[in-house]
Symmetry: C2
Subunit: 324 residues, 2 copies
């Protein structure tokens, strides 16, 4: 099956389960930059991030025999909740391997969604060995966070929605700014748009200092981040784009932008004030690029993906403080 | 034309202009109360509240001759912005009469949406005389905030959406909790549901101490609030239900609930944490009733309208603080 056919199949399986999220806009945001800005509010997806799309696609797309035995995933947050809920709705077991120092709320949420959470110590435990052992012992199927065709196809369903919503708004050409970690969402959306809305150009966005994808797109080969921690955008920090996702992005995307943490906090505050949505720091990099760095982008409309909203009250209060 | 036909006509005029807002849910909210809760996220409407529906209906429904001369409205906030944006899109002038002590942000927003803002002093000016004089001098048509059939029909379009979305979720019977000030939204939704989804029972919700509608529904005649200020739910404080809206609510609604300010702040925090939406205090009374007082309601599913999200960062931070 072609990549695009896989996205169509994922969309068919998602019907009635994955939420079609709205494409929002505000005249105030348009006036900030002198162009039209549309925001795909994927923070309103089940479990508060786009990750439910990929989790649902993986669970619904695997064989009945594999699914019945259960799934395993490694995640400190959004992927964990996406896979946990998809497994719960399918009525199958999910084991989520999470670092001991993951936020207590995210661990509690993952458990509340019915998953068995297995904690590991980042300093002393061999995470991959732990996952392999659990998968083998219990016959679990691993659901990778991004470098997996079924997951990419699931994230790509957001691209089909963007294409239809852009058409309804009369948009034929636009830059599409997508928060990018390992590249699952970015490559999925790029595959969908290349087929059904080729005037919509995907640009992955990242936090400054963690711009492995931007550098990889420029150099033409997979580049790595030097650091892997120390950003408020933790949800989208990965070492490098994936073996599966990078070639797709290299073929279909244009280089994106890297933005500062302060830009992210300010963009979260604008999303609060003008769109009435909750966006987490890593999910705000696209909106930050649109609002504060559009001078580095070709003229015309901008479509921004706000990819998640799983942020605690304390961090959100920091964002609100930028309004003063 | 019947009330329901007016809502259908308003919906036809709204197509492509008024946003269809999503019906959201979260397993975490369901678990809090042991029943299913669905939230109509009307805070995601243009201008951040349902008021744009009524403003659009009034502007698009009046005669071309009247519209061309322009409109006038009195409001300290949400109705002001709804009418201002509807007038701007129609390309006609809007004069909004606002109290001098209205929040600076709301005055600035209304001006930024292209309206001429005329300020009055609550203590010394005769507001109604001022509005009459301006309307007469400039041939402006008054758009009332709730006691006006075209406005009620516009708000009723939210009811048509709720009916369709509930049907898609398989909901035939539910209590529908609607934040209620003068009753425009409540009566509009009640008219729509009575016709297309009679198993959905509307209950107006209010802040404790400002429960004129609840008392009116119980006594069978229009009751008044003693106080008109001093609530964080200011957006839905009116003296009494309207002459037009009360008979509709009396016919079609069941008594609702009155909730405390703390309940509202806690409900805002849950909407942040579980739904990723921004809800203002007055718009959170329905969710507060659902989350913290469902023992006073018949068993079964609850549908809650989150009617607006125009809240400043400081008040929102107060709501977030209830999470600690």
């Amino acid at each position: 099956m072609s990549d695009f056919a896989m996205i169509q199949a994922a969309a068919a399986r998602a019907k009635g389960h994955v939420r079609e999220t709205p494409l929002l806009s505000s005249p105030f945001l348009d006036e900030l930059t002198g162009r039209r800005i549309f925001v795909k509010a994927e923070c309103l997806q089940h479990t508060g991030s786009f990750k439910f799309r990929g989790g649902w696609s993986a669970l619904s797309g695997m064989s009945e025999a594999a699914r019945r035995k259960g799934v395993i995933a490694v995640s400190s947050g959004n992927h964990a909740q996406g896979v946990a809920l998809a497994a719960r709705i399918h009525g199958v077991p999910a084991v989520i391997v999470m670092p001991k120092d993951a936020p207590a709320l995210k661990i509690a949420n993952t458990r509340a969604l019915g998953a068995e959470v297995v904690l590991f110590d980042r300093a002393t435990d061999d995470r991959d060995a732990l996952v392999d052992r659990l998968a083998l012992e219990r016959n679990l199927t691993l659901v990778k966070p991004f470098d997996e065709p079924l997951v990419i196809a699931g994230q790509g369903t957001a691209g089909l929605e963007i294409a239809a919503q852009a058409k309804a708004e009369g948009i034929e050409n636009a830059q599409v700014l997508v928060p990018c970690g390992g590249g699952g969402l970015t490559s999925g959306i790029a595959l969908a748009l290349a087929k059904v809305a080729p005037g919509l150009i995907v640009r992955p966005c990242e936090p400054a200092g963690f711009d492995d994808v931007l550098r990889s797109l420029v150099s033409g080969r997979i580049e790595k981040n030097v650091q892997l921690a120390g950003s408020i955008c933790d949800a989208i920090i990965t070492q490098s784009p994936g073996e599966v996702t990078f070639p797709i992005m290299h073929d279909l995307c244009q280089p994106g932008l890297a933005v500062s943490e302060l830009d992210c906090l300010k963009a979260m505050a604008q999303a609060f004030l003008r769109l009435k949505i909750v966006v987490e720091p890593g999910a705000a990099v696209g909106l930050a690029a649109a609002l504060y760095h559009s001078d580095k982008l070709p003229a015309g409309d901008l479509i921004v993906v706000a990819s998640g909203g799983n942020v605690d009250g304390e961090m959100f209060a920091r964002a609100l403080a930028t309004l003063d």
